[in-house]
């Protein structure tokens, strides 16, 4: 879980490791002195700063998946839209997918820029009660590639949490990239004092996806991140012409249902494939508002309600932690 500075050699043990400053890789590293003194092993002061910043944020939810392209960003965006449909709720969506930020387009905010204010970076607002932050707002062209190694990505995530003027929030939803690496460790580490309510895990029905998702669940267990539940996305396709269902991504090993039963996790619901979901995302509109009477929209609504219930239950039973 160690931090590795930008200028560290390849085999850096991490500044918070017991071996910091002492391994053969440390020879010649500009940070060797400070590492071997043990000063770097103290917790990052940003963790406390972030805790203070997050004191006005009631619920923090991560959206995770070991697998790419299963619909993490689509789900995060619609969870945010769904929660914000209650006008009394203040909702924010943070995109920590640094190399592939999809949130600006899905939220209809492509080309928007972040503004600097006295109290930090201002997020971009979709509605009065729905704020969004993504590295996409910091890029000048849609061709810009963010070719960054881990430490720079981590620094960006720290800034997103500490330096954005989030204000008072009921929900902060964090959309993540696939995998179990820098971005995931960082977000969990930086929010460790501020407490995360839990993670929603997204998968598709086929084993090729589930095998990566099981790794993500292991990751959550390792870092002691509570799992709110699992969502099975792209679950069957109903032909708009003949109304027959096809399993485009077949659940050859029993799908999310079997995995949840095996691992004793709640299955929050299954969302069918619907071409209108992808189209809504491309056009930056909320599918829930656009096609509210579809089976996919009602699946979304049910899942969002379960997540709300989880958060309410948690704040009632965890009141003493605050």
């Amino acid at each position: 879980m160690a931090d590795v500075p930008d200028n560290a050699p390849e085999h850096c043990p991490g500044t918070t490791s017991e071996q910091a400053g002492k391994t053969s890789a440390c020879q010649g590293c500009p940070n060797q002195k400070i590492c071997s003194s043990g000063a770097a092993r103290a917790p990052d002061p940003a963790i406390e700063e972030i805790k203070e910043k997050m004191a006005t944020v009631k619920h923090k939810i991560l959206v995770l998946s070991g697998k790419g392209g299963v619909g993490k960003s689509t789900f995060s965006a619609h969870l945010a839209h769904g929660l914000a449909s209650d006008v009394s709720a203040e909702v924010a969506l943070l995109d920590v997918d640094i190399c592939g930020p999809s949130i600006p387009r899905i939220m209809g905010l492509e080309g928007e820029q972040v503004h600097q204010s006295g109290s930090g970076w201002s997020p971009v607002y979709v509605e009065d009660n729905l704020a969004v932050m993504s590295i996409g707002f910091l890029l000048s062209s849609p061709d810009d590639a963010v070719i960054w190694r881990g430490p720079k990505k981590n620094g960006m995530i720290k800034q997103f949490l500490r330096d954005v003027d989030w204000g008072e929030l009921d929900y902060l939803i964090v959309d993540t990239p696939p995998g179990t690496s820098d971005e995931h460790l960082s977000i969990v580490q930086y929010l460790s004092s501020a407490q995360i309510d839990g993670a929603v895990i997204i998968t598709t029905p086929q084993e090729v996806s589930l095998q990566d998702v099981r790794k993500e669940i292991r990751f959550c267990q390792k870092v002691k991140l509570p799992i709110i539940g699992v969502v099975e996305n792209m679950s069957g396709f109903i032909c708009p012409k003949c109304k027959n269902t096809s399993q485009i991504f077949p659940p050859t090993t029993g799908g999310a249902q079997k995995m949840c039963a095996d691992l004793n996790l709640p299955l929050l619901g299954s969302i069918p494939l619907d071409p209108r979901i992808g189209r809504s995302c491309d056009e930056g509109r909320s599918f829930l508002q656009h096609v509210p009477d579809s089976p996919a929209a009602s699946a979304y609504e049910q899942i969002i309600q379960s997540i709300k219930d989880y958060c309410t239950y948690r704040s009632q039973h965890n009141g003493t932690d605050e």
């Binding site: 160690a2 590795v4 560290a8 390849e10 085999h11 850096c12 991490g14 070991g66 697998k67 790419g68 392209g69 960003s73 689509t74 640094i98 190399c99 592939g100 999809s102 387009r105 899905i106 849609p142 590639a145 963010v146 070719i147 960054w148 190694r149 881990g150 430490p151 990505k153 990239p177 696939p178 995998g179 179990t180 690496s181 820098d182 460790l185 086929q206 084993e207 090729v208 095998q211 990566d212 099981r214 790794k215 669940i217 292991r218 390792k222 396709f237 032909c239 708009p240 012409k241 003949c242 027959n244 096809s246 485009i248 991504f249 077949p250 050859t252 071409p275 992808g278 189209r279 491309d282």
Partner: protein
């Protein structure tokens, strides 16, 4: 670095092709697997290096199970799919004790393992080495490109799905290729249309034409479209050879045309 380096385990590898995408879940591993099989059936000796360390899919897609990786004098012996040894694989999937183990590694550790994968695997004689990558433009991509620098890389195949959310990420991957001087062999549009098996109606579940548009926009060759096909998803799920099993399907001809285009592009370069 040793200037007399013979290219390590890659000394007898003729061509190296990367399979990239800015976006996850667009079918990089599926495309890598099917292209490898298509090249194999065209009589080539093929290797696949899977550098997706957090989500390795290749072992399952070729149903090789989880054999132990052995050492020989010239390095790690890759895993072969059959006795003829014409398809060689290396993946972190072979190095994990438990298949559900999460590889919770930050960049530097990933970079170190990729360095070993490039230099310490005894690939032997290969016509093509395909490198399957995770999504993004970060540690793994830089590591693989840096480690392959002393060896010639023929280029990259970029995989996208048709919708704008995906082509937007692949646009960034193209910038990455241009920045590091990696030739783009072409763009594949995957999951392009779904033909209902009941009524033959075609639904564009993830839109249509985005890959071709992206190719035009960025001046890259367009290699072709591969439809959404449950037979293909089932084949990769069960590790069956789709190319052998469904030679009549439209998906098969799409994949073999792409394989042919890649071969032509490399051999005429």
């Amino acid at each position: 670095m040793d200037l007399n380096d013979d290219g390590g385990g890659l000394a007898q590898v003729q061509h190296v092709v990367l399979v990239l995408s800015g976006k996850g879940g667009v079918g990089k591993s599926t495309m890598t697997t099917e292209l490898a099989l298509a090249l194999l059936h065209a009589g080539k000796k093929v290797g696949i290096l899977d550098v997706d360390l957090c989500g390795p899919s290749i072992p399952r897609m070729l149903s090789v199970g989880r054999p132990e990786v052995h050492q020989c004098d010239s390095g790690w012996v890759p895993v072969y799919t059959d006795a003829s040894k014409s398809l060689a694989l290396m993946s972190i999937g072979f190095l994990l004790e438990n298949p559900d183990d999460a590889v919770v590694w930050r960049g530097p550790k990933k970079t170190a393992l990729i360095g070993q994968f490039v230099s310490d695997v005894a690939w032997g004689e290969l016509d093509y080495l395909l490198v399957d990558t995770p999504p993004g433009t970060s540690d793994e991509h830089l590591a693989v490109v840096e480690n392959l620098r002393k060896h010639k890389v023929d280029g990259a195949i970029l995989v996208t799905t048709p919708q704008a959310v995906s082509t937007g990420d692949v646009r960034r991957e193209i910038t990455f290729c241009k920045k590091i001087g990696l030739r783009i062999l072409g763009i594949v549009e995957n999951m392009s249309g779904f033909v209902c098996p009941h009524c033959s109606e075609c639904s564009n579940i993830f839109s249509k034409g985005g890959g071709e548009e992206l190719a035009k926009l960025t001046g890259s060759p367009f290699l072709g479209c591969v439809p959404l096909d449950p037979q293909l998803s089932t084949s990769v799920e069960q590790g069956e050879d789709f190319i052998k099993a469904f030679p009549e399907s439209a998906t098969f001809s799409a994949i073999s045309n792409i394989a042919q285009a890649v071969l032509t592009s490399i051999e005429n370069a």
